[in-house]
Symmetry: C2
């Protein structure tokens, strides 16, 4: 059975619609413009705006003339009206950020993920780091909407449990949400890392251009944040976006057995191992720490300009990524792909230069449109920022599904 | 900018919500039950039900006691209150169906797709067939909501144009929607075939179990109808669901060069050619008509029980399909896969027996849940019925997006 709609539900939705309209306006908007853009009556806009000003979420910021008539009062977001904490639990580094209502990072701190510490100990460090971050900027706890934690899949979002992340062996069935909520005395939500990253990209996308996109996440693993009609596709168990098992490359020319699966084909540790085998780098990939892999991966990417062996190895990576993107674009019919994640930086030049022509020029692309490529507007902290954005989003964004009566 | 919501929009939505509640009740429902299940007030339900009865869309059908109190009047759909026509333009056969409001096929007719006729001539035949179908059951034209036409992609749904279907060479840039609307004097909508098929499955899914699924369409080509939260994922150009370019199988054991792409790996004409090469069938696949390919494909499927060469060839097909489904399930996190389409029938036993264990037992499946497999509730006419369902859906179904003010 589907739920109907009633007036109180519509009222809450319209408040979020107006806040969203104010938030997305770079130069502020007048009440008249808000009414015109949302289709709501002038009276409704006036009433809701008064409530939002009383709550400290928006402010009146001067007036603007419009030729004839009375100058209009401009409404702007009050960025420091509310805050949210975001945590990214990554196999190599834990990032904690404090975001304001405008999505700006007010403070952030990175701590290396202790490889052998228990999850309980690491959660303790996360709690101390988050508290120190809030203290450092002197924000009152009552203004913090909550904490978002982004973790590698599979996760159980409903229960708030990290289930069995392949690269975080100590984190099997850990109830991170309730544990953090208890220790921080704040509402906490858990999301998969790629979902958080895609949410961040949407939140920062003032122009609303990326309503249908794939966020291609290059981290310690690979993943896709899929956005359909401006909402992140989460899937029945909130684990959508696993593309590591996708077959790519293929064909008898594929140089190593590892190149059959996208997750293996672009795994930094494997690529560093390939680079050592082909003489581009020296060392032992098996025994390297995550930080050393990262540093070696950066050297491999740099060697692309000077060493043809590095160039050929990285060209194969670009081809595999293009193959994965073609599969996603043909299946989902999206027209934007955004690159990001902690390992994107070193291969930024390679991916932005090589992948677009490989995808748009491929005879396998059957969509009647090109794909537009971009890099994340946010950078390496995208998942932590995304987790905080989800808290803001949960509290503030209009969603048609929010119109349904909760039963 | 997002649109707000207002009362007239909510009213239209609630009418669709109530009609949907009545439609999905197998034994009829009372006004009290409708109010309880939708969350709407008794007065709202009473008013809207009166309007629906006046419009001939629902009827009062007796009373039902409930222990104490006055017996309640039961509401049922009036199936013949409205009808919709559905057309499936397939490379081998054109199917035309007349559906009533309950989604039952009132009449249907198949005509072979003329391989060399112009699109204009074939559209003329479609018009005559549709008109004859309506006349044959004596339905008044005013009760026909419109015509849905399902066609192979790529299509331009906005312009109503079939763009460039690979297996229908005479149908490049044909404005089928406007042409049919002009000749039939009815509203017409065009959709991609897999989208229509998935819509049919949703429409017939009384239990609402398939809110997140992949409809795996085995036709002259292969495609996927992707359903997220009870709505078909159409994509930015309405061409989502193209999975033929997906790399499958792979590995040096793949028997022929054709097994690298899912679309080729399961193409009936290629499989018949493989069966001829391995001695299971005799003939020349290159010169066979589409009807002959279909008949030969049926013989190949039957030979699975008796001929190990056929069994091995078909096992490889099941493995390739399983590989494609694993990629889709991991990316989309769906838990239902429904098989259907015109070529599913002959391989029904193979796919329902072999694919579920290959998918659920695969080490590549990373979702924390199993996938439930089923066959289409509808059968081979699924795309034509789906096209008609989309007309019903367009006119009658509640969609939260319908709450937004049209600007």
């Amino acid at each position: 059975m589907r739920a109907g709609s009633n007036l109180p539900a519509v009222g809450g939705y319209n408040q979020a619609v107006i806040l969203d309209a104010v938030r997305r306006s770079a130069d502020g908007v007048s009440r008249v413009e808000v009414a015109a853009s949302t289709g709501l009556s002038a009276q409704t806009v006036t009433n809701i705006v008064r409530r939002l000003i009383d709550d400290g979420l928006i402010v009146e910021a001067g007036t603007r003339g419009s030729g004839v008539g009375k100058p209009r009062t401009i409404l702007r977001l009050q960025p420091h009206g509310r805050f949210a904490l975001g945590v990214h639990l990554d196999p190599s580094v834990i990032m904690v950020v404090l975001l304001d209502l405008a999505g700006s990072v007010v403070a952030h701190r990175a701590i290396p993920t202790p490889p052998s510490a228990t999850a309980a100990r690491t959660l303790g460090r996360i709690v101390r780091t988050a508290s120190a971050l809030v203290d450092s900027v002197g924000v009152d706890a009552s203004r913090i909407l909550g904490v978002g934690i982004a973790a590698p899949g599979p996760v159980d979002v409903g229960a708030g449990v990290v289930l069995d992340p392949p690269l975080l062996p100590g984190w099997r069935n850990v109830p991170v949400r309730d544990e953090l909520a208890r220790r921080l005395a704040l509402p906490v939500l858990l999301e998969k890392d790629v979902t958080a990253a895609a949410a961040a990209e949407l939140w920062m996308d003032a122009a609303g251009e990326r309503g249908d996109m794939v966020f291609f996440y290059y981290g310690t693993g690979v993943g896709a944040g899929i956005v359909v009609h401006g909402e992140v596709l989460r899937g029945v168990s909130n684990n959508a976006g696993d593309i590591g098992s996708m077959v790519v490359g293929g064909g008898p020319a594929a140089p190593t057995h590892r190149r059959w699966r996208l997750g293996d084909a672009m795994l930094p540790r494997f690529l560093v191992a390939d680079a050592i085998t082909s003489g581009v780098l020296v060392g032992d990939a098996e025994t390297m720490t995550t930080a050393e892999v990262r540093e070696a991966f950066g050297r491999l990417a740099k060697a692309r300009e000077s060493d043809p062996r590095a160039a050929s190895l990285l060209e194969a990576v670009a081809e595999d990524i293009a193959a994965g993107i073609i599969t996603l674009v043909n299946a989902l019919d999206v027209d934007h792909v955004v690159f990001g994640g902690p390992f994107f930086g070193p291969v930024r030049g390679l991916l932005l230069e090589r992948v677009p022509p490989l995808v748009n020029g491929s005879p396998l692309m059957v969509m009647p449109h090109e794909v537009i490529f971009a890099e994340s507007a946010i950078g390496e902290d995208v998942a932590a920022i995304g987790a905080a954005c989800l808290v803001l989003d949960h509290a503030l964004s209009p969603r048609p599904a929010g119109l349904l009566i909760r039963r």
